[in-house]
Chain length 348, copies 2
Amino acid sequence: QPGFDREDHPHRRRNLLTGRWVLVSPHRAKRPWQGEQAKAAPASGAAYEAGCYLCPTNTRTNGEANPDYPATFVFDNDFPALLTDTPDPASGSSDGDPVFAIAPARGTARVICYSPDHSRTLPQMSVAAVRALVDTWAAQSAELGERFANVQIFENKGEMMGCSSPHPHGQIWASDFVPMEVADEEREQAAWLSARGRPLLDEVAEREIAAAERVVAMNDHWLAVVPFWAAWPFEVLLIARTAAARLQDLDDAARDALAVILGQVTRAYDALFSTSFPYSMGWHQAPGGSDALAAWRLHAHFYPPLLRSASVRKFMVGFEMFAETQRDLTPETAAARLRAALAETENA
Amino acid sequence: QPGFDREDHPHRRRNLLTGRWVLVSPHRAKRPWQGEQAKAAPASGAAYEAGCYLCPTNTRTNGEANPDYPATFVFDNDFPALLTDTPDPASGSSDGDPVFAIAPARGTARVICYSPDHSRTLPQMSVAAVRALVDTWAAQSAELGERFANVQIFENKGEMMGCSSPHPHGQIWASDFVPMEVADEEREQAAWLSARGRPLLDEVAEREIAAAERVVAMNDHWLAVVPFWAAWPFEVLLIARTAAARLQDLDDAARDALAVILGQVTRAYDALFSTSFPYSMGWHQAPGGSDALAAWRLHAHFYPPLLRSASVRKFMVGFEMFAETQRDLTPETAAARLRAALAETENA
Ligand SMILES: O=P(O)(O)O[C@H]1O[C@H](CO)[C@@H](O)[C@H](O)[C@H]1O
Ligand SMILES: O=P(O)(O)O[C@H]1O[C@H](CO)[C@@H](O)[C@H](O)[C@H]1O
């Protein structure tokens, strides 16, 4: 009887950070595609666009003019999903109702322009410019962390990911509640620490480095892997290898190393399908009042939608929505392809 | 001090079926949109397409010819994500490893052509034709339920939802494991029954009917509502009002009534933005070996991506991926618009 082969046989893998399983169907990558073909993102040329509401000196929809900023620029989101001064729903009609359960949500939302250059995405920025972004993330996280339970920093890159402006930028949504995903990760990390005496991502990093096959890039401070339980085809998990629970915990050396590995991961992405690779990227860090600080390890997730080319994406629909996340190629294959893409950019 | 207003103030609502919270930011619907504009789906004209691999008498990619079927037609998916004869990963290398946790996954996948007519989507089919589809669902659920722990029936409609063929069809993925979403719903429904002595969706249906504001359509056997905790802008939950835990439990009257309400919901969708409305639709029913059968109530979810027009969708990216699902208009507003759209089709 022939044995199990990870590259041929469907199986499930467990995401240790969320506690949820993922269905892996590697043989599915062979199916033909008759569905939607996205058009490739147009290459943006000019460093300054008069019509862009994020470029220096331009006026935004609310009438404010941007300063002539030299590096990063942070401003309050003109259409924030969270507001600081929302009244409590307890004053509404559904208070204490178990069927129609409602809870307060307050917070603030900011936009971070990565640099004045309209045309330079993260993989095209200099290490020094990315380092300035890292410092901005850390400063924002520290400042907003004083007032809010959770500081969610993320980037939606590309029209395919709902990005509403081509000027390279990210967002911060800080909230007075701990959102579901962060709460899940805190629960799983805390349980791991108390069961095994070590932080979850510490052990994951050690094992991934030893296994080597899913590693995309690494340095003394950071590990970039396609995690064993990756959901998106070319998902990457970027783990701090030093004991940092939040962005502001990173020292100078770790920040420099982060600027380097962010360039590597995103250039590998761009090289993979010769396109400006769309993704959502987000940081996960310990919430403000966390009582599981020692269990937390700072990390970022990259969730890119592309599957087979610059125009064929993975759809998380149907079975994925109603039953379970499913992927069509193994994380091992994805990592090998990203390593090859990275080598290509480094030899170029 | 002004009170809380659901239509203005951000808040969170709890999805009772999954136990997860959703962030509602109603004021966000006011923001402008500079991002991706999808092209409207082209209207399909001909009832038969020579190049379609789902039309009667045509040959599929694997060389088999479809019969000249008169109503529904079910066949094995040529590119199934699940296979019946996969060896056990216990024979692989990750057995018992807590860091790289792996589990077996076996099953089968089928395609259901809704009717021979290439051009007629569900909202355009006759009640008799939809009733034939309901009978096919029930028969497939009963047959596959004998052999598999879970029978997941769903439809991805439209290119935007990753549908790879325009011929109206759905899918069945039956598995020897209970997928995450179904396990979550079973856990929450079982907990509700033991805490309150009634099935969760029984109580939800009763309260939604009394509240009326989120109801889209109803009859003696079914209730279609934008649930209090809806995630997608125009999400609909279709709840069986009789004690059915699975599709095969439905009697003749409930099946007829289902055919009617399915037409109403999907015609309301098409009328809303004057387009063939994309969605993923999926049934949730008790898994095969369920020990919480009395807690289960058969229901279907419609998850449609459109937000503001036939070309502007909601993106579940960034904050939604890393933190928490977020919506930009209230379920109450969405339901009112769907009711108005339905009235329009019924007066036409
Ligand atoms: O099976 P299809 O229609 O080729 O594929 C579609 O539905 C599947 C099940 O929901 C998804 O996994 C795919 O991403 C989607 O493109
Ligand atoms: O805030 P933006 O860029 O207008 O909007 C984008 O990011 C948000 C946060 O991830 C999402 O809720 C929106 O669906 C998406 O289009």
